[in-house]
């Protein structure tokens, strides 16, 4: 089952919260470990994941987030500082569960040859310059993603 197909994984990462950043990086690195190839197309807030020194500073907001293990009522969630509190708690849970940091996963993705594609259009929308992104990122658009994905890729969006 191994060598007949060129298996590839084409991921869209559109969100830049702490929790949303994990699945694309976990799946892309796992794909490399399984002798697949992978690309992540970072668009909209997902671009925050690949900003220089940003991966370990992503946050999670308790507001309108009833799925948190310790749900915070929205009336409390709007208070100043609650996002920092929720982020600290989630980082603690991650650490206790010995989950790799996002920067580590990002390093492993790069080392393993995952293509990191930053969406030009949303960079323009959000005023993000190429210099603000980590090294090794390529810039592209929808066609870049689709051209990669159309070659029998598993395509996922987060």
């Amino acid at each position: 089952m191994s060598e007949q197909l060129t298996n590839r994984l084409a991921i869209i990462a559109a969100h830049g919260t702490l929790d949303a950043a994990y699945p694309p990086l976990i799946l892309a690195t796992a794909a490399i470990a399984m002798d697949m190839e992978a690309a992540i197309f970072f668009t909209f807030y997902g671009l925050n994941i690949i900003k220089k020194n940003q991966a370990d500073h992503l946050q999670v907001a308790p507001i309108a987030n009833p799925a948190m293990p310790m749900p915070v009522p929205n009336i409390i969630g709007v208070l100043p500082g609650m996002t920092a509190v929720a982020t600290g708690m989630m980082n603690d849970w991650m650490k206790k569960a010995n989950v790799a940091r996002l920067s580590e996963l990002l390093d492993m993705a790069i080392e393993g040859g995952v293509r990191l594609i930053a969406c030009q259009m949303t960079m323009d929308v959000m005023g993000i310059k190429k210099e603000e992104l980590i090294d090794g990122v390529e810039i592209g658009g929808a066609a870049t993603y689709l051209n990669y994905a159309c070659d029998h890729a598993i395509a996922l969006s987060f």
Binding site: M1, S2, I26, A30, M34, V99, A100
Partner: protein, 78 residues
């Protein structure tokens, strides 16, 4: 069961996807026919190692469970 391993990799305490990432790296460093002993505590690694060996074509020679540890013997096939 005791199986001779050429290398041991301890992934105790590590969460998904680290055990398979480290297993992949360790297997890359072995010669064909050599056996890697990988120890993990993540219960998900039972399913993941089965899937990983099926996908990569390496052979899961044996799996053992000792207390809360899972021990996998993987033979490099290519």
């Amino acid at each position: 069961m005791s199986i001779a391993a050429d290398q041991t990799l301890d992934c105790s305490g590590l969460a998904c996807p680290m055990p398979i990432l480290k297993t992949k790296k360790a297997i890359d460093g072995l010669q064909v026919g050599q056996v890697l002993k990988m120890i993990a505590t993540d219960p998900g690694s039972i399913s993941d190692m089965d899937a990983w060996t099926k996908k990569t074509g390496h052979q899961l020679v044996a799996t053992e469970q000792e207390n809360n540890k899972f021990v996998f013997y993987v033979k490099k096939m290519k």
